[in-house]
Amino acid sequence: MLTEKIAKAFVTFLIILTLSLLILIPVIVAIDAFSPTAYSNFPPSSLSFRWFENFFGNPSLLSSFQISIFFAAIVAVATVTIGTLASYVIARYQFKGKKLIDALIQAPIVFPGVALGNALLVFFYSSGFYYHPAMLIIGQTIIGLPYVFRVMLPSFTGLNQSFEEASMTLGASRVETFFRVTLPLVKSALLAGAILGFAAAFNDYAVSVFLVDPTIQTLPVQLMGLMQAGVDPTIAAAATFTVLIMIVLLVVCEKIVGIDKLMTGVKY
């Protein structure tokens, strides 16, 4: 009986420890962003906004923040467009090599990010391209695509085909049916896919660092560069903004489609 109680207490301790490890990480960064001293002194004794002022007063950080959002938005649109098309075809057609194509689309998710980044660097270098913003967008699209695909595929396969059949019996063409019947029925998956595509591109470091131009840097790449030089609460201020963006996306997703949709994409 006693051992049972000890075991239960230990398990409760493990649960609390794990959950606090998950929650505390962004919280500590946010607290550090308000610290009054440059030398990170935790917990801070008073509140200060100077690091936020620093972040907004730093043109290179600010421009990389804008670049990150801009690129991630392009990648979100690109991955959702390509991912929708691919998952629709795989869900609705029978053809040879279907399994192979499915595996090819999902492959980048298990492919090590560093290895993919290096492969793209080597490929672009040997084919004569060097530093072009399109390289970054292509790299981020490839890592974002499997997440979108994983959200979209089950929503197409789970969709009752009689809606589409009815539309086509009533004289609509296949394309018309797709845009007016199928797409509106999977719009929640479209939103979840767009959020995952955006987040994958916005947060990526491992692939992007191999593809950025010294003048056009994404926020994660620039912040990692600063971090290797040491602790600076300006990094915390910028990081707090990225956390806020992710929280907003999560809340939007929860309110409109429910969090479970995101899970199917994120889970390995």
């Binding site: 794990t18 505390l24 057609y93 490839i142 971090m227």
Partner: protein
Amino acid sequence: MRFVNIRRSTTQKGKAKKAFLTKSNFTPYLLLAPVILLLVIFFLIPGLTQLSLSFYKYLPPGVVIGKLYEPTFTLENYIRFFSPTYLNGYFWPTIRIMFASTAIALILSYPVAYSIARTSSSKLKKIFMAIVIAAILVGPIVRVYSWLIILGNEGPANNVLAFFGFGRIEFLGSELGVIIGTTQFLLAYLILVLLSSIQNINPACEDAARSLGANSIHTFLRITLPQSLPGIISAVVLGLTLSATMLETPLVLGFGIVQMQGNLIYNYSLGSVVNLPFSSAASVVLIVMALTISYGVSYLLKSQIKWAK
């Protein structure tokens, strides 16, 4: 009569469905062409370029102006990789960090996954899930910077240790620090994998064991744990693959003292000495490692389970 009608309508529906699925043999390939092209040009071909470059000869800067390598077949990059300097500097630390952090993360994430799977309140379940997914959506930068603060010499972790009368530990630049950071990174992913496996276990089995007199420890060890073994295997495989390919964590928390496979690729592709053939070889080794783990470990463990049964 009615029976016949139903039969007719089902066969018609079957035919319609079949026609709907196989309308044309050419359309699917045409529609998939953009995706296939994108992945072949920017995923498969770069992978193969990297593979072939790993067998190229490295040219030190200045030997031939504007050339970093020469296309003559050589194994020198792989021989260099498997020399003691690089094995001890990158390969063995990677292996140690992989296994340590996967083991700790498994122990930490199992209870959380179990309690999410078994909680009866749907609201609580949603909060748990939100925490886990938020932890995944929060990027590597936030995570790594947070650990930089927590594990610093004057940081909260050391303050707590000092408060309880222990000496300060230099986490940063030590394998322990990298293991802590990696473990925390794995938690959310392992919870999701374990969760879907534990959800498939029928709670009635546990209730039956308890009603037959087993205490919670016995119920867990004899009923729950064996049934969740497939989930544990996938969690181990995922943990090992994800930790093998870490870049941000060793880059920041390792302080250049503790380095992993990711650092090796980074150092020789983006560092002060650019040696693309060598970094490509390191990259190929990393891919082979990740694939061996995903297929090898799961195969080994699955055959063990079959044997045990």
